[in-house]
C-alpha cells in the first residue's frame, strides 16, 4: 500500500505546534484517525484539559468505603484524588494536593481517618475536605491573606450511580444524566437491577501497561473483531461458544455519540443446550429466568429484577444481555458468562479503568463485582474465576495488554504517526424495528460503529471551544 494522500483539511480544534489541528488528524468521511493521537505529548496535555477535566470518570464503588472516615486514593486523569466517606456519610472526591505547598495530603492507598493531616507542614483537613487549621494556630500559620473557608481541599463534582463513584472537575459542565444519556437504559440493567446492588469483592488490581490510555479505551468500546483473532485460544482450548468464537460476535451493538457502547449477545446462540428454546418462542420469561439467570444474578434475586427493571429491559437482559462494552472515556464494562466444569454457567462482572500515566503509559485498574446479596461461596467463586479470566493474569486479557504497547510505539514513527486507524467496517442495516431500547442499535455481526462513536466523542471534546 502506498502512503495515502493527506486527508481533507478540517481546521477544527486546537492547533498543534506543526500547524495541524486536531480536526486535521481525522478523516470524518472515511472513519480514519491518525495514529499520532496515540503518543503525541501535546495531544496528551490537551486531553488532560479537554477530556479529563471536563467529563465524568469512574473512581470506584461506594462499597470500597462503607464506613464514615473510610477513604481510597484514585485518579482523575493525571490528578490524584482522595475518595472519602465523610462523618455525615457523604462521598467526597478531593484533590490530593495540599493548598499550602502542594504536598500529597494523603499518602496511603486506603484507610479510615476523621481528618487528613499533611505530613509536610501539618495543615489538617476534615474528611469532607474542609480546612481545620495549621499547627501553630495562635501564630496564624495558615496566613493572613485567605479565610479558612477558602483553604479546603479542592472538590470534584461527585455522583453515585448504582453505587459506582463518578467524578468530574467541571461543576458547570454536563450532568451525569447527560453524560450517560440514552445508554443509561442499558447500564441500568447491569448496575441498578437488584435491591442490594453490586459490591466489590476487594480492592482493584493495579498494574502498568506501557501503552497510551486510548489503545485500551477505544477497544473497550465493544471491539468485537479482535476477539476472533487475539483471543482465538478461547475457541481452540477453552471451547467457548462451542469452539466458534466468530459465531458469538453476532448480536446487537448499542452505542451513542457520547462514546458509550455495549454488545448484547443472544444467549440462544451462545449456549445451544442451556438456552434451548430461548429463541423459538417456546419458553416464557419465567421459564428463561429459571433456566439461565442473567450474568451475576442468582435465582433468589429474580423477583427483584422485576421491581427494578421494565418488562422490555428484563426481556432483553434474559434473551440478549449486554456482555462487554465501555463508557467514555476510559472504562471497560464486562458482564460475561463463564461455563463451569460442572455444567453451571457463572456470570462474571468486572469494570476496568485505564488511567493515563503519560502519553505512553496507562494504569490498568480492575474491579471485580458481585451482587451484594449473593452468598459468600458465590462471591468467592466469582472472584476466583474472574481473576483467572480478566485483569493482571487473566487468560483472556493478558494478550490485550501485550498488544497495546506495540500500537503506541508504532504511532511515534515519522511514517507510522500519519498512518490511520480505520473504522470502516460499518453496519449498514436499518435499525431493527423490534428493538426495545434507545440509542443507536446495530444488529448482526460486530461492527466498527461503536468504536467510531468513541472516537467522535473524543473529537467532539477535543475540538470543543
Amino acid at each position: 500500500m502506498r502512503k495515502a494522500g493527506p486527508p481533507p483539511s478540517n481546521p477544527k480544534g486546537p492547533r498543534l505546534s506543526d500547524g495541524k489541528t486536531i480536526g486535521d488528524l481525522f478523516n470524518l468521511d472515511r472513519n480514519e484517525v491518525a495514529m499520532r493521537v496515540l503518543s503525541d505529548p501535546e495531544i496528551y496535555d490537551l486531553e488532560m484539559e479537554k477530556i479529563f477535566s471536563k467529563t465524568w470518570t469512574l473512581l470506584g464503588h461506594e462499597s470500597e468505603i462503607p464506613n464514615k472516615g473510610d477513604f481510597v486514593l484514585r485518579d482523575i486523569g493525571a490528578d490524584q484524588v482522595i475518595v472519602t466517606r465523610d462523618n455525615k456519610g457523604k462521598v467526597n472526591v478531593l484533590l490530593n494536593v495540599c493548598p499550602h505547598r502542594g504536598m500529597r495530603v494523603c499518602t496511603t492507598d486506603s484507610g479510615n481517618k476523621r481528618a487528613h493531616k499533611c505530613i509536610y507542614h501539618g495543615w489538617a483537613f476534615q474528611n469532607n475536605g474542609d480546612f481545620i487549621g495549621a499547627p501553630i494556630a495562635e501564630e496564624k500559620m495558615h496566613g493572613c491573606k485567605m479565610e479558612k473557608s477558602e483553604l479546603g481541599l479542592q472538590h470534584a463534582n461527585t455522583h453515585l450511580y448504582g453505587g459506582l463513584i463518578f467524578a468530574c472537575w467541571d461543576h458547570d459542565g454536563e450532568t451525569f444524566e447527560e453524560y450517560l444519556g440514552e445508554m443509561k437504559w442499558y447500564y441500568d440493567m447491569l448496575f441498578c437491577r437488584t435491591d442490594g446492588g453490586l459490591e466489590v469483592v476487594g480492592p482493584p488490581q493495579r498494574f502498568i501497561v506501557n501503552a497510551n490510555w486510548k489503545t485500551a479505551s477505544e477497544q473497550a468500546a465493544a471491539d468485537g473483531y479482535h476477539t476472533v483473532t487475539l483471543h482465538a485460544w478461547l475457541g481452540e482450548l477453552a471451547k467457548f461458544n462451542e469452539g466458534d468464537i466468530a459465531a458469538s460476535m453476532y448480536g446487537t451493538e448499542v452505542t451513542s455519540r457520547m462514546g458509550h457502547a455495549l454488545r448484547c449477545q443472544p444467549v440462544a446462540n451462545k449456549f445451544k443446550q442451556a438456552a434451548k428454546g430461548f429463541a423459538d418462542g417456546s419458553l416464557t420469561l419465567e421459564d428463561k429466568l429459571a433456566l439461565l439467570p442473567p450474568p451475576g444474578v442468582t435465582k433468589e434475586m429474580l423477583p427483584q429484577l422485576k421491581r427494578h427493571l421494565s418488562k422490555e429491559q428484563l426481556e432483553l437482559l434474559v434473551d440478549q444481555p449486554p456482555q462487554v462494552g465501555g463508557m467514555f472515556p476510559n472504562i471497560l464494562v464486562a458482564f460475561i458468562y463463564a461455563p463451569q466444569p460442572d455444567g453451571t454457567i457463572l456470570g462474571l462482572t468486572s469494570l476496568h479503568s485505564y488511567v493515563p500515566r503519560g502519553p505512553d503509559k496507562l494504569e490498568f485498574t480492575n474491579w471485580i463485582f458481585a451482587e451484594k446479596d449473593a452468598s459468600p461461596e458465590h462471591k468467592a467463586l466469582v472472584r476466583k474465576v474472574t481473576i483467572q479470566m480478566l485483569g493482571t493474569s487473566g487468560m483472556i486479557e493478558q494478550d490485550d495488554s501485550d498488544t497495546w504497547p506495540h500500537m503506541t510505539i508504532n504511532s511515534k514513527g515519522p511514517q507510522g504517526r500519519d498512518m490511520t486507524m480505520k473504522y470502516q467496517a460499518l453496519n449498514t442495516r436499518e435499525r431493527p424495528k423490534s428493538w426495545p431500547g434507545p440509542a443507536e442499535a446495530y444488529e448482526g455481526f460486530t461492527s466498527d460503529d461503536t468504536q467510531w462513536n468513541w472516537w467522535l466523542r473524543w473529537y467532539d471534546l477535543m475540538t470543543a471551544e
Binding site: G202, R206, F207, I208, L237, A238, Q388, M395, Q398, S401
Partner: protein
Amino acid sequence: MSDTKKEITGTLVRPNKIPVGSEIHNRITETLYEEALMLDNMLVLEWSYFVTKDISYTVPLRATRLLEESDKSIVRSMMHMDEDYNSLMMRVGRLTRTKSAFAEDPPSRTRRLITNILVDSTNKPDEFAVTSYGILTRNRYEEHNTQVVSFVRHDILREIDGELKLAKREIIVDFAVLGTQNLAIFL
C-alpha cells in the same frame, strides 16, 4: 513480630527449622533451582508435573499502608492470581496446545533468581514449609529496560514417591502497582 512481618520476612523464631546445608535443605534448594531453570526455558509442560493436583497458587495484592496498619499491606480479598490445578493446566495448555498465547508467544526472556531459602518442618512429616526470595527479570521484544518483579514466596513442598512437589505457593510481590503488563508468567 506481627503476622504480616512474618509473612513478608519469614520469622526469626523457628522451632522447626531445618538447617541450611542439611540434606533436606540441599534437596529443596536444588529443586527450586531446577524449577527456575524449567520456567526460564519455557518448559511449562515439565513444570506441570512439579505441581500437585490439590495445589493452591496465589498472588495477593499489596497496598501502601502506614506502619501501624502493616497487617493490611497484604490484601487477600483480591488477588493478581488465584489458581488451582485446573486453571494452572489451562495456562499450560494455552502455551503448549494453542498458537494464540500471544502474551508469551514470542516468549519473554526471563531469569528467576531464587535466594534466601529457609526450610521448616511442618506437622506433616512429608511436607516442608519453604520461604524463598525471588527476583524475576523479564524482557520482551526490543525493550532495553528490564522489567523486574521482586517477591517472597511461601511454599509447601510435599514429598511424593521420593520426589518433591509443589503443593502450595503464595507469592507476596513488592508492588502496590505491578510494573509488568501482565502475569502471563509463573513466579
